[in-house]
Amino acid sequence: MIRVRGLKKRFGRLEVLRGVDCDIDQGEVVVIIGPSGSGKSTFLRCLNMLEEPTEGSIIIDGVELTSPSTNLNLVRQKVGMVFQSFNLFPHKNVLENVTLAPVVVKKLDRAAAERLALELLRKVGLEDKARAYPDQLSGGQQQRVAIARALAMQPAVMLFDEPTSALDPEMVGEVLAVMRDLARDGMTMVVVTHEMGFAREVGQRVMFMDEGRIVEEGPPDKIFYRPENPRTQTFLSKIL
């Protein structure tokens, strides 16, 4: 599904990704952990080309993202992204947030887009908020709308960049629950998060990233409880 080879990303002189290789299968849920500044966000952002890789190749669903002839707008339709800070469109209500891209990008007619949106909003438990504006919602609700908005493009892969770390603790659960359902429905997911419970329950594989490389990876229980790499051990001792 996703195949990354020799991925490097430099910002000027700063080398943030120093050769990342990984393969992610269809329906797999991969959790990425690692210290701040290790390149987790940059890696995710390369997967939908919000950042242009300096070197290496990324193939998603058979499409080589880094080839100049690739239509990135088409690729991005297949790769949904959920941001730490939600990034809902504040001038549009919840329903419009969800329908905008299907209508504008896929030229779906409005009625069909609204039907789809309402179905997704039901899935994330916010059907009754369809007419509300983002700033009338709690953080947890906003993030669930953001998930519905990304799903409305019917992506093959969903990327999550610390989706719960801007939330008050009591709202983390509702967002993780939605993500859990999504994983159960077979969505391919790449999730940057430090929520151990989620990682252990839902994640099939955990990757530990440090200084721009994937230093260690494996099943959640192995990474969390029997890490082999000293840097993984140090990191986990700090956050557990």
Partner: protein, 224 residues
């Protein structure tokens, strides 16, 4: 008193001319400003440089000189190009010069407005598969427009006051009409004071209107 009373309709006619010019110029300036403002943010270096040159040139030279270039300079070029029409009517010359000038200021207003929108908005839109143009049109610009209303109002007011320069190319706007009345009545104090008050009434009304619009949109913003 009767002097002011008698000259008032004539002065108001000038005020109308003043508003008409400023309004049309800001209107054209907004269209130009949007294009140039987007050009300033373009990924293409050449476009960015052209847009920057336009802005720098028009903001870095006196408006009066710009009016002279259009009114006196352009006809000469037209003549050299062999155009059958070489005279540019004062109103059109003024409108062209003011629109070009306003375009430069409005471009900077739009650029700042667009840049004030959090970059997460553009990223969210692009991550959904929207093109840059679609993201601008449906996500960034609608939010930016709300923020640029106050500075656009200021630009309108500045432009309106600057129309008093146009007396020099013979446009009978408010200031010119003041001069004409004084030439026959020799009462500069009363007349200039009246002229000033009319300008004040115009600019004050505009700023109230802008405040009103801003508050209305703020309410909409609060809701959204």
């Amino acid at each position: 008193m009767s002097l002011i009373f008698n000259s008032f309709p004539y002065l108001l006619g000038g005020a109308l001319e003043t508003i008409k010019l400023a309004f049309l110029a800001v209107l054209v300036g907004c269209v130009l400003g949007l294009v140039v403002g987007l050009g300033r943010l373009s990924g293409q270096r050449v476009i960015r440089a052209l847009a920057a040159f336009y802005v720098d040139f028009l903001r870095g030279t006196p408006l009066l000189v710009q009016v002279f270039i259009v009114y006196f300079g352009f006809p000469q070029i037209l003549e050299q190009l062999g155009s059958p029409v070489t005279r540019i009517p004062p109103f059109w010359a003024a409108l062209i010069a003011f629109s070009l000038n306003s375009g430069a200021y409005v471009a900077e207003i739009f650029r700042a407005g667009i840049q004030s929108i959090h970059r997460g908005q553009m990223e969210a839109a692009r991550s959904l598969g929207m093109t840059y143009g679609q993201a601008m049109r449906y996500v960034i610009l609608p939010q930016a427009f709300r923020r640029v209303i106050p500075p656009l109002g200021n630009e309108f007011i500045a432009l309106l006051k600057d129309t008093s320069l146009l007396s020099v190319i013979g446009i009978t706007e408010l200031t010119r009409r003041g001069q004409i009345i004084i030439a026959s009545t020799f009462r500069p104090f009363e007349i200039w004071f009246t002229v000033a008050l009319i300008y004040l009434a115009l600019t004050f009304s505009i700023s109230r209107l802008v405040n009103f619009l801003e508050r209305r949109l703020d309410v909409a913003d609060d809701k959204s």
